[in-house]
């Protein structure tokens, strides 16, 4: 029995990855184990504490405004401070 072809072709793999197909006996207990794991995972996710979006948004805005003046790409910095900007040629008087 040839294997299943799984794994994305992202345009670079010249050969595809194949995984062996599992026997049906193993599959039923796999499905059960998988279902149990999904339920466990969902229980964990459902139990975390959440805050309101309004509070979260306010905190994000505060962070942005606090750090905005230190953000060179946002505020722009003078050419003398920017190592990447080409400095004007000096004129020797």
């Amino acid at each position: 029995m040839s294997g299943d072809v799984v794994g994305r072709q992202r345009g670079f793999a010249t050969d595809v990855v194949t995984w062996p197909r599992m026997s049906s006996k193993a599959q039923s207990s796999n499905n059960l184990a998988h279902a149990r794991r999904t339920v466990q995972q969902l229980r964990i996710e459902a139990s975390i504490e959440r805050i309101k979006v309004s509070k979260a948004s306010a905190d994000l805005m505060n962070y942005c405004s606090e750090h905005a003046r230190n953000d060179p790409l946002l505020m722009g910095i003078p050419a003398s401070d920017n190592p990447f900007k080409d400095k004007k040629p000096c004129n020797i008087l």
């Binding site: 799984v6 794994g7 994305r8 992202r10 670079f12 793999a13 990855v17 995984w19 062996p20 599992m22 193993a26 599959q27 207990s29 796999n30 499905n31 059960l32 184990a33 998988h34 279902a35 149990r36 794991r37 999904t38 339920v39 466990q40 995972q41 969902l42 229980r43 964990i44 996710e45 459902a46 975390i48 959440r50 805050i51 309101k52 979006v53 309004s54 509070k55 979260a56 948004s57 306010a58 905190d59 994000l60 805005m61 962070y63 942005c64 405004s65 606090e66 750090h67 905005a68 230190n70 953000d71 060179p72 790409l73 946002l74 722009g76 920017n82 190592p83 990447f84 900007k85 080409d86």
Partner: protein, 395 residues
Amino acid sequence: MCDQTFVAITFGPCDCCGKASPLMNIYIKSEATNYCSFCVEVMATQGLQAGESAASLKKESDSLKKKLEEERAKLSDIELSQVAEKIEVLAPLSIKTRRVLKGHGNKVLCMDWCKDKRRLVSSSQDGKVIVWDAFTLNKEHGVTLPCTWVLACAYAPSGCAVACGGLDNKCSVFPLSLDKNENLNTKKKSVAMHTNYVSGCTFTSSDMQILTSSGDGTCALWDVESGQLLQSFHGHTADVLSLDLAPSETGNTFVSGGCDRKANVWDMRSGQNIQSFECHESDINCVKYYPSGDAFASASDDATCRFYDLRADREVAVYQKDSIIFGASTVDFSLSGRLLFAGYNDYTINAWDVLKGTRVSALFGHENRVSRVRVSPDGTALCSASWDNTLRIWS
């Protein structure tokens, strides 16, 4: 099932029967345990006798999913863009290409800045990894890997080593020597071993550990010195394409995104998946944490970028435009988190206002897809890597 075949191969005594055999890392009542495959089967059938059945588990999982949706919706009292209406609109940015780094012979797939704010490492499809000095355009080191498509590269926090990986299914660490003539290949250390391509790698807070994401659907934490697998992270049901470490020093979490359209947040110590977000309509190509560590953004083939708040546990913004139809492959935040730079497959980089959800500027210059954008550690510049074989520094 994907999960079974992607399990990392650890060998040792089973926590249940004590016999030494290949172990599977599973969770019982949120506790991580290692069982041999025989004991997992026994436990699965025992579950049946206890009154559980596949149908009852499915019912419970459906009701839990609905409960999750309701809980999340309850707290969604206002949109981020509405809250942000009172701040002033940003003027278009005066950002231009300041440097073009030429030297790669093929598509540049990945790059990373060094903490010294001037060096960077880049990797390309022809197997070459180059360390550049961005100020002088000098190539400081170069190494050729035996594989093509080096998809991931990272600079160590100390600046003394680089890690890279790709189609060779491995992630290798190269200590950088001061001697320019030394062949870096002689000091190469193979650290990570996956069963499929390595899509992303990053050092943790020290040079001693690396975190990798792979096409085999897992992420893994490795000790660099011994090459030992410290923790593996299972939960994605398809290739994992990207990962990012939480910024704070005390933070022990990271986020990963993959072809299963999910972005998962993981606890590094327990291997547990803490939160999961499934909002995109296509593969997630890149994930990046917001500078405060309380939120993250993702870029996807569905031509949108999305912003998620971790404490509110939901998506809070979508960055999209009707005129943008090509997939986004990479995102990064500016230093303050106000700007989100996203690189697209239509050769452009868009700068979005994170809070208002609007586009501030578009950066043109590349002649092929933009594969990676990264803001320098001090926020002065943005570096972009592209399939046109060049890297550009914008400032």
